[in-house]
Symmetry: C2
Subunit: 455 residues, 2 copies
């Protein structure tokens, strides 16, 4: 076999996503297949703990996941590759050839804040199906949830000023960059520099200019003039050589009528001092209408500092820190079997508890503010708003995709309902109260006892 | 426009990658277009600094990037979307419609260790072309270089024991997971659980079983027996309920002749203690041939500890830490204009120096060991091995893709030539010596003076 001529760009599509799975999913499913274990299973996706300095996560990724579950299949080349591994039986490979996901999915809406142990989604399907999609479900839900959760912190720190996603170049690949722009927008980021995300998701696109543009001209003033001529009222970068000298050139160009400029961008140095000095120069020249945008190594703490110091900055361009969620690039996310064939299931492995059976999360509000969640059995009816809703039945999504603007609004409103300390950047002490219902706790104990007795 | 019905799975392919760019690349290129600035540019890709606790990076990602550069174009839908933004002129959009990359690329071979400021690649092309591909080049080269660099540390820590990539579920999306498996293999990881990577890259695939398999059975012993019946000599997971009780069931199954089992996997608890106790149980039963594999929250430090303690573990399954390079998920990577129209270019922004002009890196060896690098002008002939080689001309790759095994060998050999302290997990003090040639330093000063005089 030619090792790499299978086109990597097309791998996601032509391979039908079926091979985007860990090998052990396929080996386990063949074992289930041979043992006739096709009973109904319930799997739960949840985060065992929140990352440090995170008081909640912003659930994200459901919409694209549902599309992927509808599309998930194995093509002829996939089957041929699997056959070449000499591990799988012809009967099993035939079964894979016809594989389609026909299960039911319950999920919290995208943009909803969730806490440790709370299911982001639960999947009810024949065991082999629910098993095979594990890698896909975890990879995609974690990606967008990690990124939305980080982005929400940027938006919160900016306290109403615009935050722009400039991070595609330092994200992890095409898929991450494309879905990041969507997750960021849901979480409150105003726009993205990623043009593909503009086309695919309709996220507003934004951008300024790079140092290379200024460098390529022999004269900085001429570079700024030429750019503003092509794009009147644009944002120009002023720190290529000397930031304040750059601002003076902008002043000169605008006052002489040679250019219309919307804002200057600062990308290095002490952003607070430079923003103040730039504002002073612009104001002194009567250019109150020319704004200031800052970028360069920004994260939520730096943005919060600048906002607290009342820096005259109207927008923040954020790259690497948000793009990979640098302080918490992954979650302790788990996709765990919690019921099979009508019986609750769990593990007894140290430090990795599982809540058995299908579940619901009830969020209680008081005076319009969330005061606590209860994780309960799915058939309980407790006070509060239930967070998990059916979103897919028989392998078909139940709703057309939610409008991104509606998801943004939902995220903003449901985060605003959290206690103030939970909305803060620092860890809340104590954190948001999440408890397990008496009935679920009792069920967990019963299952644990049954397992201990059986071993 | 329907905001999301453009299929996100197909976005990478059908859109021809052209829109995988930051908006400012397109606005700058339209400005270049209108000003007739189509002279030859040189851009250099390098990391300004190494992450903490990294003594070098492992260059990776070139092969897939060259494919992407050959494929890069704008399709009709891309042009239509760009037109809808009301920023671009019809003449410019027509020019984009015919866009193809026709430049020359010089690069260090994949698997080569590189240091701060050393170009991983340099691109020589008409300015608009070299500018438009910036986002693609940075995103793809950073992704694979970050991941290969982290994986190399895992392999080094394991000191010859096998390291397996189990991380797809916690990586950032499809593209990251697929390319990670390739980068990891180049950097010394033995195999991956990612089946798609097996098909696309020919990376060996490996896998065991999950807790869910055991949980789905009412009896753990029966679960292990059934799995080993389908897959004789496989690896079985023993920590679902009680690790050592699980090992005793394995002993019982093997000794009774009911199952052939290759190894047990430990995935929780104190791995050193459990490995020793498991080894003791297995050996006492005469099962010296049954191995032990460990997983669960492993990183290079934990692996090094286990190896130093001579833990009886034959292989390590690694997930999240390697999968996102959790201690350094991104690089301070930059793609900078260093020459345009025959003149060296740089920035004077604080803390972000650029070395002007096309460059070469010479690595000096003494007694078969690397003793220092010199970053020089491309036309210099200094002592040592030149690291940058032409890999693409006129937009066409010069070589068929390198065999992954050859890249693995190259990586292993060139890393083994580094000083011992540089190969260690801890930061070497002083680090590996990298200097700038007198001629390049002089050129840098001349360019800086020319720019200062001109502003």
């Amino acid at each position: 076999m030619n090792k790499r001529r299978a086109n990597h760009c097309e791998a996601y599509v032509s391979h039908g996503l079926g091979l985007f799975t860990d090998l052990y999913e396929l080996t386990m499913v063949q074992a289930y297949f041979e043992q006739g274990m096709r009973g109904e299973a319930v799997f739960s996706l949840f985060s065992r703990a929140l990352p440090q300095r995170r008081n909640f996560l912003v659930a994200c990724g459901l919409d694209t996941l549902l599309d992927d579950l509808e599309a998930f299949h194995f093509d002829d080349g996939d089957i041929e590759y699997l056959a070449s591994l000499d591990r799988f039986s012809p009967a099993f490979l035939d079964w894979l050839r016809d594989f389609r996901f026909t299960g039911t999915v319950y999920a919290v809406p995208e943009g909803t804040p969730v806490f440790a142990d709370e299911p982001l989604l639960e999947i009810v399907a024949p065991l082999p199906q629910a098993q095979l999609i594990e890698t896909l479900v975890m990879n995609q839900m974690q990606l967008q949830t990690v990124l939305a959760s980080k982005a929400q912190r940027m938006a919160a720190a900016a306290a109403g000023r615009r935050v722009l996603d400039f991070g595609a170049r330092r994200m992890h690949g095409f898929d991450a960059a494309l879905k990041a722009a969507r997750a960021f927008h849901v979480a409150g980021i105003a726009a993205t520099s990623n043009v593909l995300a503009g086309r695919v998701w309709g996220v507003p696109v934004a951008g300024t200019m790079a140092h290379s543009y200024v460098q390529a001209h022999d004269d900085e003033r001429e570079a700024l003039r030429a750019f503003a001529q092509t794009f009147p009222d644009t944002v120009v970068l002023v720190d290529t050589y000397d930031t304040l000298a750059g601002v003076r050139k902008v002043v000169d160009l605008v006052r002489s009528g040679e250019a219309r400029i919307g804002a200057v961008r600062l990308d290095s140095g002490d952003l607070l001092e430079l923003a103040r000095a730039s504002r002073h120069l612009l104001d002194a020249a009567g250019l109150q209408h020319v704004g200031i945008v800052a970028s360069g190594g920004l994260d939520e703490d730096r943005i919060a500092e600048l906002v607290a110091a009342d820096a005259p900055i109207g927008g923040f361009g954020v790259g690497s820190s948000m793009g990979v969620s640098d302080d918490a690039p992954n979650l302790d996310i788990a996709y765990k079997l919690c019921e099979y064939d009508g019986r609750g299931r769990l593990k007894l492995s140290s430090g990795k508890p599982v809540l058995p059976g299908r579940k619901q999360v009830f969020r209680s509000l008081r005076d319009g503010r969330a005061v606590g969640d209860v994780i309960a059995r799915a058939d309980e009816s407790l006070a509060g708003e239930p967070l998990l809703h059916p979103v897919m039945r028989d392998g078909r999504r139940l709703h057309t995709p939610a409008d991104l603007d509606a998801l943004r609004t939902h995220a903003q409103e449901s985060i605003a309902r959290l206690p103030d300390a939970v909305q803060a950047l620092e860890a809340a002490e104590p954190g948001y109260p999440v408890s397990v219902s008496a009935a679920l706790r009792e069920h967990q104990q019963q299952v644990a006892e049954r397992i201990r007795a059986g071993q």
